[in-house]
Symmetry: none
Subunit: 207 residues, 4 copies
DNA sequence: AATGAATGAGAATTCATTCAT
DNA sequence: AATGAATGAATTCTCATTCAT
């Protein structure tokens, strides 16, 4: 779980709120470009048009930036889920659900370049790994909820297993849809859907 | 592709060959534990029971360790493929193939803890990312060859697409089988097989 | 030619300007004492009452210190030349000119202890050698200009040759005037003058 | 003065004598190329076709190489002097003497590339500076002896002064005669002779 | 004697974080 | 709040020297 994100100082003026946002944007960008380890606080501040001192006015340390950013990912991710993985949508045909989810997530990825390495979670930096786990957990839970609606008879263990597999497969294949080759990109999205659809159709029937 | 791995100095004495191997073992372990970036050459040397100087006697720099290690992965990986993905095995039932491959790869992973982060390739360190790409490419090619035997009528583009999907899915799900929960672990392996089997059965028939 | 001296960061605060100057003073002193190669950035920083980090805030690397210092020498040297080697002074008796020049240079040497090894140019460190060449070139050009005024009929090649000889001889003999022996010191200055005077009197007449 | 050069081990076999010579040749070359400080004992050994271990068999440390080399310079330099600066030659016309000396020294320089930086003596490495001083002293003494024969009435102080000036001027100008420009090179030698000849002619007469 | 591997102190440089202005 | 200068521990890499074979 990400540490409770406490800003060193709650911004009093709205100018401060802007600063924070642009610092987080900068962090997202720099983390995405060079990775958390190699991102320097100076580079992040500079990118945000601020000075290091200013950065430390709001964030305790580099780690706090990561935490706040993760928080932001969580919030936005929840919003995405709210749109496509609700009790109502659970009634839609599976294909329609995958369609919406994949599209929405591809979008989310594109807007948050720093998200992917985090989500991908192969990090050896424990703080990063933990953040990634938490984000994945969020997604898994969502899918579990969906399954509970669609296949109420399924055991919790199996529900979990299927949820995990869905999340991991999407996590693995979504980045491929950033390939430069238009045709390949489309192919990947289509095949991902086909792959999971075939699998889940069988599984959710069989309970 | 990893750079041609050139040792700074080819060991003349047999003692040197040992050193090199244990340095690589140590590098594998340390990279796995703290990641490439945070791995220090001193830590690696110490782990190998050597001094930094000794390390630098054989390796130009930290990067050279990574390259040599990658080379070793390539070699071992090829050996694994040689055992389970040959023209002959291509005739076996799909299920048998997945069984062998998954088992062999789980093994390989367990013996090379540093392999996974590399293979996972979400690294922002270009050198790592490149090494990961090369390792993945190796696997993808192997699967393409298999497909050529099993489904000779398939278009090269489609062959590539299916190969990529197979590799990515396995790459994503294999780490789950390192979960502590025995039952979950078994579940993952089983489901992975089912997932890909169902998908590939359909796809290879349909051409 | 010394590389264009670019400070890593132009000091914004006045405190920074001071720092830079004292770092250059320290570099001059340390280079003079132990030579460029053996001068450590830590020693230079310490001498300037700063920390290494502070040094690197303004200078890209050790080499940048040398470059900035060389720049400073160039500037000061030009100022010296401006005083003693102008078109007007070209009309003065040769003896008067040598008198002024030698005195001014002895002074300059005394105030910039790091200058001499550089100027002497027997360095095998290419960067040092280049800097030395540039400084010598500066002096040679000045003398050439003087000659053009005093002996306009002389061929450019000969002018160059005489200029080089003057500069080299002064460069070689000036350090002797730092001998502890007062009498010897005076002797050297006098003889240098006599040596060059006799030579140049003949040469400039003969064209 | 260079330390008494004691070889760690007096070579018993003649093979050892060869080794020593080739190590010194290598040291001369490497010192000339990269300077004493940056010369590595490994590089020197390699250049001599030996291993470091072998080098240390004969030389206590890097410094010992320098000392032995300096010794060799001394010996050869003395030989040069023996040919051109003897009581008999003292009777020759000054011009003839300068002619011989300059030619002989240019030769010596060419054969001992490592000699010049040492002789030039602007080193801040005390050991090098000392070696350079000693070599210069050797030359100065020789010139003093010559002067004693040619101008017996001259005071010792003045003799010393003139000797120093002669040595320094030659030291400064000789390297110029390594210029690529054939004409310039010849010019330098000629002018050097003229410069010193004019000066000394007057001085030795006047006593 | 020779070889080449082993050692480790020391140097340059970076960067998170603090602090004076 | 903001700025940017200051700090110094930590890291990579080198090289003189020693030592096992």
């Amino acid at each position: 779980m990400p540490r409770k994100t406490t800003l060193r100082r709650q911004p009093v003026q709205e100018r401060g709120q802007h600063r924070i946002e642009s610092l987080l944007d900068a962090a997202d960008a720099v983390f995405a470009e060079v990775g958390y380890e190699r991102a320097t606080t100076n580079a992040i501040a500079a990118r945000a048009g601020a000075s290091v001192g200013s950065l430390y006015q709001f964030f305790d340390d580099k780690r706090a930036l990561l935490d706040a950013l993760t928080q932001r990912y969580h919030t936005q991710l929840r919003a995405v889920h709210e749109l496509v993985l609700t009790p109502e949508t659970a009634q839609l045909p599976l294909e329609e659900i995958y369609d919406r989810v994949l599209r929405a997530l591809a979008d989310f990825h594109a807007r948050n370049r720093g998200f992917q390495p985090l989500f991908h979670g192969s990090s050896t930096t424990e703080e990063l790994a933990a953040a990634g786990r938490a984000l994945r957990e969020e997604c898994i839970n969502r899918v579990e909820q969906m399954l509970q609606v669609r296949a109420p008879g399924m055991s919790p263990e199996r529900r979990r297993l299927l949820a995990v597999i869905n999340v991991e497969v999407i996590r693995a294949l979504l980045p491929l849809s950033e390939s430069a080759d238009e045709q390949f990109r489309e192919g990947v999205l289509g095949e991902t859907k086909k792959l999971l659809l075939g699998y889940m159709a069988k599984e959710t029937n069989r309970i």
